[in-house]
Structures are given as structure tokens and as C-alpha cells.
């Protein structure tokens, strides 16, 4: 049995490992045109800023793949022929498989802005983008980053670390407030400005202007302002990368359509991770998850299904984390950016604006937790939410979840006090 996996990111690797655990003798080929070895995509920024070398971002030592008998193939797949179970590789012939997992991840959104293909315009997703950034920063003085999300702020931090000016265009009236509630979002606005970035809220990109030689020279915003720049970072979200499967007979919507065991409509073809769109019965929207953690979890389940097990993906309690310059953020459960009817919002923020906590309850049951500038225990928060603990219970046991380093100031007492008063 030969399993081919397209994409050596978090999902592809999680699947390969799981298949190997369950099927010691099957042949597994992990294919990527991007890199020889699996590396940590979220660590791209640290390579650029000089915190780590590329080699440091590889989660497994090179001998891991040999020991686990997982074949690595550096090639771009250009065609999937699922009727004959055959892949065409760019300049490297063909590869037959018995089962195929597509884990091609995401690609940066481009919304058809005038000038979006000029030199100096780029997203930040993969090593190709990182390499172009090396080219694009040469002699650059200012960058304009378009889109207030997680990747945008990383790209801003990277370019800023090279002593360049950064202007940040955010469509919303506060950074990332289509995900974060107002107060948390405002904490980040403050950080961005404190770091010396030019944050322009409620400002959209209208067009990108170029020079004769095809290079970017500036942008024009919807407010008519023209900003000179040599780099434009397009970080207005990502979409499932379905380039490879279009017109192959494999169904796609926004992503590659799969059931909750990651099967596509084509026999023995699976898709998981960022590129997959999980089809949901009934009125609910289909699910597309595009973070590292879900990629890993989806890959693991897809691996089980491919290896012959009867597994179904259970996303569990949502969680995510990020770091905005030096401000850490963790979220557990359901925290929506705007108040939802029937939900109760409790919010505490330290007067120095460096720490905050939000607890969301519904009928006095805790359903979501946000922390900024605080570290909380994943397992404890998840248990509280799963076991539907009451607000009182959570507040009385808050200390149990604190995960900050030793000797750090503890705010639990203050938070408990504040929230009890609010709830009363």
C-alpha cells in the first residue's frame, strides 16, 4: 500500500506520523515543492528577524524521517489523476499511489486590487514569500501592510525589525476586531502604536501604484491619501489552496469538500487541514479551519481514516493563541467579537493595559475565556468549558488555571473580585 501526501506542513506530517503508527509496513511519501523537510510555518518570522536559523525551525531532526521510514520527495505536483491513481510531478515524472491525502494548506487572499501583481507586493505564507521579502526589503524605506490580522502584524513586526517604517491599513475601526472583542482589540492598537507603527484604522487599500520598471511606488487609500512605499504586504486573510484540484473532478467549494472523515468525492482521495472544507449537514455553515493546531488535529484523524480506522473528526473545544509584538493572547471556547444575545460578558483589564481577561457566560455557565498578557492552562480551561462549570466555580478556582512563570504578579484575586461584583 502506497500513501502519497501532498504538502509537508503540519497536517501532512501529522497524517504521515499517524499512518506510520497504525500501519508499520505501508509506504508513505510526503511530497513538497517548497522545502526538503517539514518546518514550522509560524516560525518564518523568527528566521527573518534573526532569532533562529532555518534549521532551527525544523520540528524533527533529519534522522526522524529515516527512522520512521517516511519518504520525503521534493517536487511540485502539477496534476492529480485520481482515476488512474497517478500524480504528475513538475520535471520529475510521475508517481502512482493507492491512497492520496491533499494537504496543500492556504494561500494569501488577493482581492483584485489594481497593481496587486507589481514587484514588491506580497503576502506572507511560505518560504517563497519569505524569499521574496528578502528581495523586496532591499533599499526599502516604508512598507504598507494591508489587512489587520495575525499575519499582518507578524509581517509588520518583521519589516519594522529592519528599521523600516511601516504603515498598517486596517479596514475595521480597530485591529482584528472582526475576531477580537473591542477591548482586547484596543489593547493591540495601543501596542502597535507604541512600537512606532503608523496604524491607520477604517482605511482600505484602493490601488497600488507602480513605476515604469514594474515596481511598487506607493498606495492610494480609500480616503484618497497616497503613501509612498517600496513594499506592500497583502495580508487580508487566507483561503484554502485548491489550485491543484480544480478541474480534476474533485469537488470544491471554498475549499476541497470533504466529509468529517476527510474523504473527498473521489475514491481514495482525502483532504485535510487548511485546504479542506468540512461539509456540514443542515443549515450550519461548512467548516474551514486554518490554524496550526486544527491542521495538526485534522491530519491525525485523516491519517487514522487512511490507515483503515473508522474515525471522525471532533473539533473539540476551540482554542488558539498568538503573540502581538510582546503581548501574548490565548482564547478558549466561544468568545465572539460582539456581544451575543443571551451571553454575559465579564471583562477585566489591568490599568497598565498589559493584562486582561474576559469570561463569557450563558445562563451562568462559562462558555469562553480570553486572556491577554496572561498564560492560562489549556487543559483546565477546556475542562471547565466541557464540564459546563458555573461562573462561581471558575472564579473560585481561577488560580488553578494560571500558567504564568514563577514570581509573576498574580491578578486572580483582583479578577475574581471584579467579576463577582459585576455578576452581582
Amino acid at each position: 500500500m502506497h500513501i502519497a501526501i501532498i504538502g509537508n506542513g503540519a497536517t501532512g506530517v501529522a497524517a504521515a506520523k499517524r499512518i506510520r503508527q497504525l500501519q508499520p509496513d505501508w509506504k508513505i511519501t510526503l511530497i513538497s515543492g517548497e522545502s526538503d523537510y517539514h518546518y514550522s510555518r509560524p516560525a518564518l518570522m523568527y528566521i527573518f528577524m534573526g532569532h533562529m536559523s532555518f534549521k532551527d525551525t525544523k520540528p524533527y531532526q533529519d534522522h526522524f524521517w529515516k527512522i520512521n521510514n517516511i519518504d520525503l520527495l521534493r517536487a511540485w505536483v502539477t496534476e492529480i489523476d485520481h482515476n488512474n491513481k497517478k500524480l504528475t510531478l513538475h520535471q520529475k515524472g510521475q508517481l502512482t499511489y493507492d491512497k492520496l491525502l491533499i494537504a496543500t494548506g492556504s494561500k494569501s487572499n488577493k482581492f483584485g486590487w489594481p497593481g496587486q501583481d507589481l514587484k514588491g507586493v506580497q503576502g506572507l505564507w511560505d518560504l517563497m514569500d519569505l524569499r521574496s521579502l528578502y528581495e523586496n526589503v532591499k533599499n526599502a524605506k516604508r512598507a504598507v501592510i494591508v489587512g489587520g490580522g495575525l499575519i499582518g502584524i507578524e509581517l509588520a513586526e518583521m519589516i519594522h525589525s529592519r528599521n523600516m517604517e511601516v504603515t498598517f491599513l486596517v479596514r475595521e475601526n480597530s485591529y482584528w476586531n472582526n475576531v477580537l472583542p473591542k477591548e482586547e482589540s484596543m489593547m493591540i492598537n495601543r501596542i502597535i502604536r507604541h512600537e512606532g507603527l503608523d496604524l491607520k484604522l477604517e482605511t482600505e487599500l484602493k490601488e497600488i501604484e507602480g513605476e515604469q520598471n514594474g515596481r511598487v511606488s506607493g498606495v492610494v487609500t480609500n480616503k484618497g491619501e497616497r503613501i509612498d512605499c517600496e513594499i506592500v504586504g497583502l495580508t487580508a486573510g487566507v483561503s484554502p489552496n485548491t489550485d491543484l484540484v480544480k478541474e480534476t473532478g474533485i469537488d470544491t467549494g471554498r475549499g476541497i469538500l470533504v466529509d468529517w472523515s476527510f474523504r473527498t468525492n473521489a475514491p481514495d482521495v482525502f483532504a485535510a487541514g487548511d485546504c479542506a472544507e468540512l461539509v456540514t449537514e443542515g443549515d450550519l455553515r461548512n467548516v474551514i479551519q486554518q490554524v496550526w493546531y486544527t491542521g495538526k488535529m485534522q491530519g491525525k484523524v485523516a491519517g487514522e481514516v487512511i490507515a483503515g480506522q473508522d474515525s471522525t473528526y471532533d473539533p473539540g473545544i476551540w482554542y488558539n493563541s498568538a503573540k502581538f509584538f510582546d503581548l501574548e493572547y490565548q482564547t478558549y471556547g466561544n468568545v465572539s467579537n460582539v456581544p451575543v444575545q443571551g451571553e454575559h460578558n465579564l471583562y477585566w483589564e489591568h490599568q497598565n493595559h498589559q493584562h486582561s481577561m474576559r469570561i463569557i457566560t450563558r445562563n451562568s455557565i462559562v462558555i469562553g475565556i480570553n486572556v491577554m498578557g496572561l498564560r492560562y492552562r489549556h487543559k483546565v480551561c477546556e475542562r471547565w468549558i466541557r464540564e459546563e462549570k458555573t461562573l462561581d466555580y471558575v472564579l473560585d478556582n481561577l488560580k488553578e488555571a494560571n500558567f504564568d512563570p514563577e514570581f509573576y504578579d498574580k491578578f486572580e484575586q483582583e479578577i475574581r473580585h471584579t467579576f463577582k461584583e459585576m455578576a452581582a
Binding site: M52, M128, R162, K246, Y319, P405
Partner: protein
């Protein structure tokens, strides 16, 4: 279809790596920074002038100019260069700096530091000029002239203090780092510099209360016992008592409660230097499993070496040399030369800019070996990981000075229980997702999957070697 530009991409990221990206000019140095660097330069100048035979040599003025002035200058520089930055992780450009990334400056620093140790151990006469400059302080503390060890102790203490200030500033958002740094600065200045020298002024043996057997290997040698006894009074007896207590009682008990860190990154002078002056080079430690294998063999071999040497010396002394004769003395000499001087000094510190700050602590120190055995099998200390939050970025492994591949555990959600971990806490500090935490847990249950009992866990682990 995949676009043509993507298909063209075939960068050899493994071979070529990523070079330093273009950078706009750095903010020019402030007047304060220039002045502080000027003080350092002035100090170096004063040092050289005195080496060439200025009458300042041996005077307080000469001492202050050559040692204290540049220390103040460097401390001031660190303070000024960090004070206006946003508190947080400060590792930008580490891999682009020649001095910090094994570039030519790094090699020069390694050679200079190694050279200093070689002179110190074998040709101290070339350090004579520097030694004489410390006479005023030596006179004040010990009542006598300085020797090369006084100069060494002074430079060591200055390095820990000045770079300790750098650590305070670099980690001023992190109280664990600040307290720990204050601790190593206190133990170096007080217990490893002032007290031993003042003891000399009172005609007592020069005793270091912060070093114990087997790191300070001769403290449990029979010859030291008789030497301490000779000092009359109760002081010598107390030294012997202290040494035995620390080695056989405090070490296991404190390690049980707090892990190896109570010593290695809070008290020890070698650790103190590694955590302060060595901090800029911590990322150079080798994280491969091959290095881990070498580490386990070497460090335990050194431990066996010193244990055998000590036991033989005692057998020899209690049988008046009738069993092993001079053989035990030969071992003692070899240990002192190969391990005490070459390994812990020349390689241990001289190689900071090439192999990271903990070469000796990781590969050689027998004290670390003992503490490590306790930590691995009988300690409540471990680093816990935060559920599924790890995204495998590798900052923790990169900045582990002991070369532990922290990420290998974190990405599986496993606790980190490694004998070599000195508990410096930097992995937890650099983690961008809040995944790691140093903890003194209450039970064995969360340390060992299969057993709640330390002895069973111990036997279990032996079975898995």
C-alpha cells in the same frame, strides 16, 4: 493549476539558509551611550598604559581606572541601550551578528578567552602587570598582595555583575529572570569573592561557601581535611561540616524540592557566569541527539573519575599509602589538570562563543551529573507544557543553553524531565505561545506516566536504557 512562478521555486533552503536581510541604518548611538562606551575605552587605555609601566600601577587610582571605570561604562551602556525599548524578548539579529553566530568575531572572542585561561593556568607571569594593578583591592580585602587567582576572581565577579545588569535590562519584564540573576550576582560577589578573600585576611583558609564536592573536588579530599583542621579554632571544623552537609544533605533535599536549578542557575559561580556573560551565546549549544549521547557518556565518566579519585585518596590516607601508594596522587593530579583546568576553565569558558555558554556544565561538571541524577529520578521539578498550544516554532530548543530539544517534548504535550535542565527558565520566556512553565509539582504522578513511586520509576527507566 499551479502558477509558473511557484513551479520555478527551487531554493535550497538547507544548503544556503537565509542570509541577513537588508536593513536601514540603525538609530545612531545616543550621547549617553557614546559616553558609556568612552568610559570602557578609557578603562582599556588605562589598563594598557599601566601594563607599559605607568606609575599608576598598584595605586588605587590605577585600579579604579583600569577595572571599575570600564565596568561602570559597560553597565551604563547596557542600561541605556535597553531602557527605551519595549520590554520583551530581545533576540533580533542574533543570527546575523558575527560575534554571536560563530562568525569571525566569535572565533576571535573564543581564541582570546581560551588564551586568557591558558595564561592563567600555565603562564601567569604574562598576567603579572594585571595582577599588580589589583594589589590595592587585594590589600584591602586579604591584607596581602594579589596573585593570578585574585585577578581571575575579580574579573569573574565583574563579568557576572556587568552582564548581570544586562540580564536585568534584557529580561526586565520577567521577574523569574531578575530574581535568579540577582541570586547568582549575590553568590558570586559575596560567597565566591569577598568572603574567601576576607577569610585570608584573618589567616583562615580561603573557603568558598558556594562550591561543594564534587565540583570543588578537593573539599572532600583527605589533604583538605587535614589542612582545615590545622587552621586551629573551630573555623576549619565548620568548613568540613559545611562541605559534608552541602554535598550529602542539602544537595539531595533541595534538588528533591526545587530541581537542579537551586544550584546550577541560582548559586553556582560557573552557572552564574554562563547565565550572565554567557547569555548572548546560549543559542550555540548543539541540540542533536548525537550531542546528547556524548553528553551522557562524558559527564558520567567525569563523575566516576572524581568519585574513584576521592575514594582512593581516602583509602590511601587511612592505610598510610600501603595499598595504592602514589597511584592515587597521580589520579588526583590528572583530574586537576585535565578536568579542573582544561575542561572546566579553558574549554568551559573559552568556548562560550563557539559551543554556547554551558559546555562545562553540560558535558563535564560532576556536580551537575549528581544533581541531574536526582532531578531525573527523585525530584518534584519539571517543565510542564500547555496542552496543545505548541506550534513547534523552535525558540525553546534554540535558546536552551543545555542543548535540550525542548520542542520535541512540547509539541507532543509531554512534560520535560531531563537530568541536564538547569531551570534557567529561558525556554518558557521565549515561547511565543505560553506553552512552557517551570514547576515544583507535588507528586510523581504527573512526572511519570506509569508509576507514582520514585523507585519504580527509577527501575522502569533503567529497563528502558
Amino acid at each position: 493549476m499551479i502558477d509558473a512562478k511557484t513551479l520555478e521555486y527551487d531554493f535550497k533552503e538547507e544548503e544556503l539558509g537565509f542570509e541577513e536581510p537588508f536593513k536601514q541604518e540603525d538609530v545612531p548611538l545616543t550621547t549617553g551611550e557614546k559616553i558609556s562606551l568612552g568610559l570602557v575605552a578609557l578603562g582599556i587605555l588605562a589598563f594598557v598604559v599601566q601594563l607599559l609601566g605607568s606609575p599608576l600601577q598598584g595605586t588605587w587610582a590605577g585600579f579604579l581606572l583600569a577595572f571599575i571605570l570600564p565596568s561602570i561604562g559597560a553597565s551604563l551602556y547596557f542600561w541605556l541601550s535597553y531602557k527605551d525599548t519595549v520590554p520583551g524578548i530581545k533576540h533580533n539579529n542574533n543570527y546575523y551578528r558575527s560575534l554571536l553566530a560563530r562568525g569571525s568575531l566569535g572565533w576571535i572572542a573564543g581564541i582570546v578567552m581560551t588564551g586568557f585561561y591558558i595564561l592563567l593556568y600555565w603562564w601567569p607571569k604574562y598576567l603579572e602587570g594585571g595582577i599588580r594593578m589589583t594589589d590595592p583591592l587585594s590589600g584591602l580585602l586579604t591584607g596581602g598582595p594579589a596573585n593570578q587567582w585574585f585577578l581571575y576572581g575579580l574579573l569573574y565577579t565583574i563579568a557576572v555583575t556587568v552582564f548581570g545588569i544586562r540580564m536585568f535590562m534584557k529580561y526586565r519584564h520577567n521577574r523569574y529572570q531578575k530574581i535568579r540573576t540577582a541570586s547568582v550576582m549575590f553568590f558570586q560577589l559575596g560567597l565566591a569573592f569577598i568572603i574567601p578573600n576576607v577569610l585570608k585576611a584573618f589567616n583562615q583558609p580561603e573557603y568558598y561557601f558556594s562550591y561543594f564536592w564534587p565540583l570543588k573536588y578537593d573539599y572532600l579530599f583527605p589533604s583538605s581535611f587535614s589542612y582545615f583542621m590545622q587552621s586551629g579554632s573551630g573555623v576549619g571544623m565548620f568548613f568540613i561540616f559545611w562541605g559534608l552537609m552541602m554535598t550529602f544533605l542539602a544537595t539531595p533535599v533541595l534538588t528533591y524540592f526545587y530541581g537542579k536549578r537551586w544550584y546550577c542557575s541560582w548559586v553556582c559561580g560557573c552557572g552564574g557566569l554562563a547565565e550572565t556573560m554567557g547569555d548572548p551565546w546560549r543559542q550555540l549549544s548543539d541540540k542533536s541527539t548525537k550531542a546528547w549521547r556524548i553528553e551522557r557518556v562524558l559527564i558520567h565518566a567525569v563523575l566516576v573519575f572524581i568519585v574513584i579519585t576521592t575514594v582512593l585518596l581516602w583509602i590511601n590516607s587511612s592505610t598510610s599509602g600501603s595499598v595504592f601508594g602514589s597511584y592515587s596522587f597521580t589520579l588526583k593530579k590528572w583530574y586537576g589538570f585535565y578536568i579542573g583546568a582544561i575542561f572546566s576553565g579553558v574549554i568551559g569558558v573559552g568556548f562560550y562563543p563557539l559551543m554556547g555558554s554551558r559546555v562545562w556544565c553540560r558535558f563535564g561538571c560532576p556536580m551537575a551529573a549528581i544533581l541531574g541524577i536526582f532531578q531525573k529520578f527523585f525530584s518534584r521539578f519539571r517543565i510542564t507544557t500547555n496542552g496543545g498550544q505548541c506550534m513547534s516554532c523552535g525558540n525553546c530548543s534554540t535558546y536552551c543553553e543545555m542543548g535540550i530539544d525542548v520542542r520535541a517534548y512540547a509539541q507532543k504535550g509531554e512534560n520535560i524531565i531531563r537530568s541536564s535542565c538547569v531551570g534557567c527558565g529561558v525556554c518558557a520566556a521565549v515561547c511565543p505561545r505560553g506553552v512552557l512553565k517551570l514547576e515544583n509539582g507535588g507528586t510523581y504522578k504527573d512526572r511519570y506516566e506509569h508509576s507514582d513511586k520514585p523507585v519504580t520509576a527509577f527501575l522502569d527507566s533503567i529497563r528502558h536504557i
